[in-house]
Symmetry: C2
Subunit: 251 residues, 2 copies
Amino acid sequence: MPTTAPRYELHYWPSIQGRGEFVRLAFEAAGVEYVDVGRLAPEKGGGERALLAFLREQSLATPPFAPPVLRHGELVVAQSANILLYLGPRLGLVPDDEPSRLAANQHQLTLGDFSDEAHDAHHPIASSLYYEDQQTEAKRRAAIFVAERMPKFLRHFEQVVARNGRGGGRHLVGAELSYADLSMAQVLWALEYAFPKALARFTHEIPRLCALRGHVAEQPRIAAYLRSERRVAFSRHDLFRHYPELDLDSP
Amino acid sequence: MPTTAPRYELHYWPSIQGRGEFVRLAFEAAGVEYVDVGRLAPEKGGGERALLAFLREQSLATPPFAPPVLRHGELVVAQSANILLYLGPRLGLVPDDEPSRLAANQHQLTLGDFSDEAHDAHHPIASSLYYEDQQTEAKRRAAIFVAERMPKFLRHFEQVVARNGRGGGRHLVGAELSYADLSMAQVLWALEYAFPKALARFTHEIPRLCALRGHVAEQPRIAAYLRSERRVAFSRHDLFRHYPELDLDSP
């Protein structure tokens, strides 16, 4: 009997990039087939209701706390960094040696922390409340995010590229494209959307990250993906949001 | 020539439990020797100044963004979940199969998210500001943390134990003590310190987590550690903090 390799299923919110985008970019860069289940039509098992039903599915041996969730055959795993830890070697998006894999995971986790702080800049009180109901607090938190945290994270990652002797000045880890590079580029694109003024002011300090971002954007599969309908547009429903009043409050 | 196994060095803030405590508990439970470098006397290379100097060390091939950092021979890794991913198999604190290891990592990451939210309940605007300078916002955020987020996380982990058929009702993953169990117990102890009223009200809903916590506390090495001077006391400088005004605002 012929056996078929199990398909990769991503279960994530259909209308945002969010933390699922790190996983989408890995599949797209590798050119590996995957099903973005939430983005299927409801009659094909997609949509938000299907996602919520999946998350509540009592038969999952390890319940996920939140999406993204990857299903691959019998395996069901949650947490974006954990999903990429699993996919990285299978998609050829991480070096083979253990130190490099730990470094890629470390960078992914720090990018996740960075993204969470960018989210909390517009939602400092609660994700369950509207932005308008925490705008005063958001202005206070965003001013500090832009003045202190964003520069601290960006300088850190610029140093990571600088010290990666094998990376030719454009990779976080190793000598080739890794999922950490894809996630770094995604965070830079998202910052450019959400905090265009603050990022523009900072660009001269991060030449290596700009080179990395350019290198990722030039990958033919990534370039095609970014132009396609599969790429969800940035919006004010997402992890990173553009509110002009939160961008760059000092001269 | 005799070769010596490299020693485990933990580099973390000396006066708090913080995210480093998840790593300390793993070493203590395994009974494996480690050096908690920050807690050594300054003349022996310890203290905060030594930690800050280590973090700025230009010779580290992969710079850490923040502590905790583990050094083991040539390897230097940051991010508590990543450190435990490395240590788990070496300390015998995670099952051998890949699905279980991914599950343990997933739980560790979710416990990290839970801890971050508990931190932001008292510091919703910025870690760089005093609590007193964000107390108004903290009251608002903590009320939602206690009413919505803490119950959601705790119910999730109760479900994780319930569905782990091999765990005898007291393990998050597998049939034996894992680092995920240690971290779960640590979060419960920290919640008991920081939000005693809110946790007490909720205890009847999490019998399995209470059993897990008791099982961890009964491990002889853990029991000895918790009584020792090596265990840093809870305090208002830490990740979890007790401010009576942030605990349980509804009846």
